[in-house]
């Protein structure tokens, strides 16, 4: 079986073997247009690889662990990460590898290539899902090319492909993937041609950048854009961006550099070249029978077609669900770098300043009218920051994922989550908060009088060291009883925080875990996996990953502080409303404020366990619940179901925190917990990150855990396997 086909053999082998991209390229080549030197690894080699290595069984195990409909995007990303690593760590059978190696060397030697996906049906008219499978640019050397062939195979199960599995018809039993290898064209200028403008069917669109096309496709460089008459190719308009950078083939992969002054001022195409591209696009349309989405490049003024696929109306951009938003979370390194600067230098300082400014308000002197205005102002402000959180902070969290992928590609570790060890100890704000709580607890431990006083519900005077530190804590992080959402009583929230501190003081402090791999060695190994020229890139990506990990937590704290300021004002409003001396006018005015008339759904929502009464003849009980292992270790303790924030204040040492999703305002109890269970899934979610910082077993994605586990029952958390075992009666 020949593992590598030349372009002349593509059509004979059929689209089922070479995939849509390769088949189209062969047609273009046959028409006499220039395409880069192209070979194809047909689908049968992929099939053979799956069969001989038996990784199909493991993929099936991964994707059937839990119904997709119950999975969040993070869990799908996790599956994709594990499958990707499986391909990376599973060698191609030796006989195929040997033939493939010599044929790749024969075809490309040490020249740089692009390794692209070519799934059957991928680029056909019925389903155009460009970008769901991976392509890699500037890959050099046969071994490296073979590694990237496996990564293209793995992208059959990319998170994006899994999200669109129904539309793609993804089925592990039948889905196939061919791979195209093309010589890399040292592009002067490149771009895309869209035969039919999606917003006007009488127009065509050309976008162009200097250098490689990757910068345009990833959105890292703004292109020049021409709108043309579809029928005549006449230029209707030309939109010029501020031209700054271009992409070029780096040591391996893609680098960015500044354009010369001259190119900054000059569009990448002249009118004649724009017309030449339109004319070629029309030929493609005639060849394939419908308008095309074509990628092209100029090299020494020769137009070369990189790929072409039909434009369809069923692409994922038109879907009306959240998946399109999920896909925007995939950010390139360049994009994340820009986002980091925005967050670190602008957004976070603004949030800190905002929270500080709001903290200086004295509500006591405000009239009811002014208080209403203040509450509304704070609500608007908080809503604004929630939007920023979704628009900028959540996408920046993708930096963790990007680092994980780059780490795994370079190191190919057995454990696909090995990279997480390099992200820990970044000085999370919530760990600072927990350390401050621990200092307060230590004061109680070492001072019996203070302990007795607090147990008698008495708060020390303002100048008492404990009170000073407690006030500092509340100033910095808000009263936990308030910020957890009670909103009724913020002055040490019905002594909630004191109860919690007394609980902390009962046991010796929980140390941050120190076990685990040798970080220095891991880091060295990571850095040594890159050639000398790419060391800076490796270090920069690690830095970005660590900052992403830190901010994943810190941004919640900053948002929480602004929320606390909103709650403060609402609390003042509630307090005035309940004052019997309030005037009717003031009462009317305050009652009109939505935040004061609303009953929180979250708090009042009842989550009764779906268990029948065990005293009756028949009963039902969950014994084992499978989730995702998100923090190694095993622990047994009483399940503490946190249905509303007040439940946290009764948390006891050794309890297992069970909740729908750990948020910022829950993580302060984690030092008390023996383990953490979350219904929400994902390895990189908030609760899992904090649990790992303390070395606690953690399971995420345990669907219906809140229904299936009873509050107070004994459960065992196996954080290695992701299994919760509930203690049941003797048989």
């Amino acid at each position: 079986m020949k593992p590598l086909l030349k372009i002349e053999d593509f059509i004979n082998n059929g689209i089922d073997q070479v995939g849509g991209k390769a088949f189209c390229l062969a047609k273009i080549h046959e028409l006499g247009l220039t395409v880069p030197k192209t070979v194809c690894i047909p689908c049968r080699i992929y099939e053979n690889y799956l069969k001989h290595t038996r990784i199909k069984d493991t993929i099936l195990l991964e994707i059937n662990r839990k119904p997709f409909k119950h999975m969040r995007w993070e869990e799908i990303w996790d599956i994709s990460l594990r499958i990707r690593n499986l391909f990376l760590t599973t060698p191609i059978p030796q006989n195929i590898q040997k033939d493939l190696f010599s044929l790749v060397v024969e075809s490309f030697g040490k020249n740089p290539v692009a390794v692209r996906s070519s799934a059957p049906g991928e680029d056909n008219a019925a389903s155009s899902f460009a970008g769901l499978h991976d392509s890699f640019l500037n890959i050099i050397g046969a071994n490296n090319i073979i590694k990237h062939i496996k990564l293209v195979w793995a992208s059959l199960y990319s998170d994006a492909a899994l999200l669109y599995r129904k539309e793609l018809g993804l089925d592990i039993h039948t889905s196939q993937m061919a791979v195209v290898i093309q010589e890399l064209i040292p592009s002067d200028r490149s771009g895309i041609f869209f035969g039919m403008n999606p917003s006007n069917s009488n127009e065509s669109v050309i976008e162009s950048v200097y250098g490689l096309n990757q910068a345009l496709v990833d959105g890292d460089v703004d292109p020049d854009r021409w709108i043309l008459s579809q029928a005549s190719g006449k230029i209707l308009s030309h939109i010029e961006p501020v031209r700054k950078q271009y992409a070029y083939p780096n040591t391996e992969g893609v680098g960015f550099a500044d354009l010369s002054e001259e190119k900054n001022q000059t569009p990448p195409l002249d009118d004649q070249e724009v017309f030449q591209i339109w004319e070629t696009g029309r030929k493609m349309e005639a060849l394939f029978g419908r308008p095309q989405d074509m990628e092209w490049t100029f090299c020494n003024d020769q137009l070369i077609i990189l790929q072409s696929r039909p434009i369809t109306s069923v692409g994922f951009k038109e879907s009306d669900d959240k998946r399109t938003w999920y896909l925007t979370l995939h950010r390139s390194y360049e994009n994340l770098k820009k986002l980091y600067i925005k967050i670190e230098q602008h957004l976070i300082p603004q949030m800190i300043a905002e929270a500080k400014r709001l903290g200086q308000t004295n509500f006591q002197t405000m009239t009811a009218e002014l208080l209403c205005q203040e509450i509304e102002k704070r609500q608007t402000l908080y809503d604004h920051w929630v939007k920023v959180y979704w628009a900028d902070f959540i996408p920046f969290a993708h930096g963790i994922r990007l680092f994980g992928q780059i780490y795994n590609d370079a190191v190919t570790p057995d454990d696909p989550y090995e990279f997480m060890a390099l992200l820990e100890n970044t000085g999370l704000k919530s760990m600072d908060r927990n350390r401050l709580l621990e200092r307060l607890a230590q004061m109680i431990r070492s001072n019996m009088d203070l302990k007795n006083m607090l147990e008698d519900d008495m708060i020390p005077e303002m100048d008492h060291p404990f009170r000073i530190l407690l006030d500092k804590f509340v100033e910095e992080f808000g009263d936990l009883a308030c910020t957890t959402g009670s909103g009724n009583e913020c002055q040490y929230g019905d002594n909630g925080i004191i109860r919690l501190l007394i609980e902390f003081a009962k046991q010796p402090p929980k140390q941050k875990h120190t076990d685990g791999p040798d970080i220095k060695l891991l880091k060295e190994n990571y850095m040594n996996s890159f050639p000398a020229q790419k060391e800076k890139f490796a270090a920069d990506v690690l830095h970005l990953g660590r900052e992403s990990y830190r901010l994943r937590d810190d941004d919640n704290i900053h948002l929480g502080r602004i929320e606390a300021r909103l709650i403060e004002s609402v609390s003042e409003g509630q307090s005035r409303l309940s004052d019997p001396l309030i005037s009717t006018d003031e009462q009317k005015m305050l009652a009109q404020i939505p935040a004061l008339s609303m009953v929180s759904d979250d708090v009042s929502r009842s989550l009764e366990p779906a268990l029948s009464d065990k005293t009756s003849k028949r009963w039902f009980k969950s014994r084992q619940i499978v989730g995702h292992p998100a923090g190694p270790g095993i622990a047994t303790g009483k399940a503490r179901l946190v249905k509303n924030p007040q439940d946290l204040l009764d948390f006891k040492q050794g309890d297992v925190l069970v909740c729908s999703g750990v948020d910022l305002n829950m993580t302060f109890v984690i030092p008390l917990a023996s383990a953490v269970v979350e219904e929400r899934g994902g390895t990189l979610i908030h609760g899992a990150i904090i649990a790992r910082e303390y070395g606690l077993p953690c399971i995420t994605g345990a669907s219906q855990a809140m229904q299936l586990i009873e509050d107070g029952e004994q459960i065992t958390i196996d954080g290695y396997l992701g299994i919760i075992t509930c203690k049941t009666d003797e048989l």
Partner: protein
């Protein structure tokens, strides 16, 4: 070894090679229990192996009471299973593998179940060996033979 025994052992080997799952019967404090396990056998059918989390009831049972039974069969949920299918029940003594040859035995096991490699690595996963004593093979409805593996 007589030909009948050779033939029966060959049939059992073929059956074991063709099947991924077995029913494991355990008991503790006079209470029987059954569960499915992904099993593998050694070449001479003296030992059967499987993996289990150490938090399960089957694990608790076999630690408390190591004598177990294992059933393997190739029925396909059709009426003719009653005369076409072969069922083999084996009895033996289970123990957690902690010997020096654990890696070698586990590799043998993972050759049959490579997708369980991740599962096998968890510190809370126990690798169990059942030292087989006797097999009972049933075919053609009620033909039963007994084969003593170890006294």
């Amino acid at each position: 070894m007589d030909d009948n025994m050779k033939h029966s052992l060959k049939q059992i080997t073929t059956l074991f090679d063709s099947q991924m799952l077995a029913v494991l019967s355990t008991q503790s404090r006079d209470q029987p229990y059954a569960s499915l396990v992904a099993f593998a056998a050694d070449d001479n059918l003296e030992q059967l192996f499987f993996l289990t989390p150490n938090t399960t009831r089957k694990y608790e049972n076999l630690i408390d009471s190591p004598k177990v039974a294992i059933l393997v069969n190739n029925s396909v949920n059709q009426a003719d299973d009653i005369y076409n299918a072969i069922s083999v029940t084996g009895i033996g003594t289970a123990a957690v593998v902690e010997t020096s040859d654990k890696t070698q035995l586990l590799n043998m096991y993972l050759k049959k179940h490579p997708h369980l490699k991740g599962f096998s690595k968890a510190p809370t996963t126990a690798f169990i060996c059942v030292a087989m004593k006797r097999y009972f093979m049933v075919n053609q409805f009620q033909n039963v033979v007994e084969i003593q593996v170890k006294s």
